[in-house]
């Protein structure tokens, strides 16, 4: 072994030119491979941070009546089917060892009516129990202006992105309640429109009910928010409290189910009589257009609330989906399988889909970008292998007399193979190793530069708005493994060439 290492090392030094060519290929290959791994890993971590842990969870449960898995970013799509039995689903989820936590959400499109008579806008509504939402996705939204929605509040949180979009299309400028328009605090791009701005501290949202009717609700705006990243994507989601959401969508609300004590029963009749009077209150709801019906049932509990707030199990009402975060280290595909089995067995009526599927085109885009990166790295692999094979084969042929002589003196084919392998392995170790180290340094340098982008596609590649390539110990092991595979594949053919050299080849050559 010692002998082989010695011969291999001296051959490397003797044929410096060739060694440098192979070394350079191995260096560049290992460098780019490591960087690629870093980008992919950073993208994964970024998507985990900005998507999985901020918005979707690892797995999304949808109603098994929901046609399309893509429930989040299907802008033109149909309504998302409701889930009525979250109480049962929750019970099941609570007992699962692989589930970290879960959040039920209402999610559907609604029109944002323009009371000034212009064209209406639209928004994605995210109806949540705000207390749970903040526990599920801590830090995913920050308040830019106004305040956070608090448990028990009825109101909306409008993202900066949506705020600007509405302004651009309708001149309506949404502001938190109890704030006044202040030109000094307007964003640069909105300032020129100052004179034309129509300030609004509440929004009239028109939801499309399942029976093809619509319901309008007026909601006070509590705050203007910003998402952690991917603001042009998440920025279209207006967060509102779940009970308002249910009314807007014409769903059976949780409070509809309240058992009203006999002593309070009489309030119902009172509510019925005062229905019209209640519609004048703008804090709760309004029928902005006479054509739209408002379910009387929805009004009743509101009347009760004014009298004595009942204890409501919010989960008794309808949702559209359940975001599920898995415990660390759980495989999402496995858990999806288990959840779907569970749903079938216990007739829970849901279907589990991966966050990527729930994100539709955006999710597949993430997969495609990753796939493209992978293909690129594979291509590099391929080119590197071809060049190394070529150079090594030439080296083998050039050393015919030397190798044939070794064979004549009694070296077996195995000795020649190991000699070749040792030579390439040493080059791979030194140059490939240096490439991996350079890749690690490169990844960390890039991470320090805090390269940012506002482009959605690039943000997906970055996994957020900042480029944060990342290498874990496992990624480095992967790079080392890839380098070893390249080396092994590249050495097969030249080794065969070298092994086929006979002692006679050495003798008959002049």
């Amino acid at each position: 072994m010692n002998l082989i290492v010695k011969i291999a090392w001296r051959n490397i030094m003797r044929h410096r030119g060739k060694s440098l060519i192979i070394g350079a290929i191995l260096f560049v290959g290992a460098f780019i491979m490591t960087m690629g791994n870093g980008v992919m890993s950073g993208m994964d971590a970024g998507l985990n941070r900005t998507v999985v842990n901020s918005f979707t969870g690892d797995i999304v449960l949808v109603s098994d009546k929901q046609e399309n898995d893509n429930v989040f970013v299907e802008f033109m799509g149909k309504a998302v089917a409701p889930i009525y039995n979250y109480v049962d689903i929750k019970k099941a989820l609570d007992s699962l060892p692989y589930v970290e936590r879960a959040l039920p959400e209402g999610k559907n499109m609604a029109m944002v009516l323009n009371e000034e008579g212009g064209a209406p806008g639209n928004a994605n509504l995210l109806g949540v129990d705000i207390g749970r939402y903040r526990k599920m996705f801590p830090g995913s939204v920050t308040v830019v202006e106004g305040r956070m929605l608090e448990p028990g509040d009825q109101g909306a949180l409008v993202p900066v992105y949506a705020q600007k979009e509405f302004e651009a299309y309708t001149n309506i400028w949404f502001m938190p309640e109890s704030t006044v328009l202040d030109s000094a605090r307007l964003p640069k791009e909105v300032k020129p429109d100052y004179a034309a701005l129509i300030p609004k501290t509440n929004a009239v949202l028109m939801g499309f009910n399942e029976d093809n009717s619509t319901t309008d609700i007026r909601l006070g705006i509590k705050g203007i928010i910003k998402y952690r990243a991917l603001n042009s994507l998440w920025g279209q989601f207006v967060v509102i409290d779940i009970e308002s959401y249910r009314r807007c969508l014409g769903y059976f609300a949780a409070s509809d189910k309240v058992d009203v004590p006999a002593s309070e029963q009489k309030l119902f009749s009172l509510a019925d009589e005062n229905l019209d009077a209640m519609f004048t209150q703008d804090s709760l709801m309004t029928s902005a257009r006479g054509a739209h019906t408002v379910r009387a049932a929805a009004a009743k509990p509101a009347a009760i609330r004014t009298a004595a707030p009942p204890r409501v199990d919010v989960d008794a009402g309808a949702y559209n989906l359940v975001c599920v975060l898995l415990k660390k280290g759980q495989s999402a595909p496995d858990c999806i399988g288990k959840l779907n089995k569970l749903s079938k067995e216990r007739k829970l009526g849901f279907r589990a889909v991966s966050w990527k599927k729930a994100m539709g085109a955006v999710g597949s885009m993430a997969t495609i970008i990753k796939g493209a990166l992978f293909v690129f790295v594979m291509f590099l692999f391929f080119v590197a292998i071809i060049i190394i094979v070529n150079t090594l084969s030439m080296a083998a042929i050039e050393r015919t007399t030397e190798i044939g002589m070794m064979r004549a003196v009694g070296a077996k084919k195995g000795f020649i193979s190991v000699m070749f392998l040792a030579e390439t392995a040493m080059l791979a170790f030194v140059f490939g190793g240096a490439g991996i180290v350079a890749g690690i340094i490169g990844v960390n340098v890039f991470a320090v530069f805090n390269i940012t982008s506002t482009n959605d596609m690039i943000q997906l590649l970055f996994g957020g708005d900042t480029f944060h390539p990342l290498l874990t110990a496992a990624d480095i092991m992967v790079s080392i493994g890839q380098l070893a595979i390249v080396t092994l594949i590249a050495v097969i053919y030249p080794t065969r060439v070298a092994r086929s050299i006979t002692p006679l080849d050495a003798v008959t050559r002049d």
């Binding site: 002589m405 070794m406 003196v409 009694g410």
Partner: protein
Amino acid sequence: MNIIETRGLKKNYALGTTTVHALRGIDLAIEKGDFLSIVGPSGSGKTTLLNIIGCIDFATEGSVRVGDLEITSLSDRQITDIRLHKIGFIFQTFNLIPVLNALENVEFPLLLMKDHSRVDVKKKSEQLLDAVGLADYMKHKPAELSGGQRQRVAIARALVTNPDIILADEPTANLDSVTGASILDSMREMNKREHTTFIFSTHDANVLKYASHVIKIKDGLITKE
């Protein structure tokens, strides 16, 4: 017992549409401890014969026995083992491994055998280099040695494994007469001391006086023993 026997040895080379009959039926019996010279004009088949006896080429027809092994029936692995343990080869040119120095070149086959201690390997190799007069050149790479010195390193390497047979194809052809003579002297000495069988080819009449037997070969046939 004869250490080498060939029977009806033929070797044909296909050259385009014609066939070259390099050997046309060689029957040979070589005794152990012989110092045999094969002579003949250029193209007579000397190299071809040595290569076949030395297990680095194969006959088209006929049989070769080395020691008690019929080599035509052996695998590449077994034949390599014969080359390593039983035969020492000295080529006319291209003798040494360029990246190893003189001492390491001599050590090479011994290390391949894997049955000597590191110390033994070194000691044995140094002794042999000393015996061929290269004590001062052990650390020299082949490129830093003269043709005659290289040839002597090759002889030391051929001897180091204590082979039964040493084959040398025109060992002195590229050397001046003085160097050639000194090399033949060292070979003869080894032959006397170790009873190693030497077979060498030459077309130099001066070399013949060293041989204990001479075989004359012409057009692939033995003309005189």
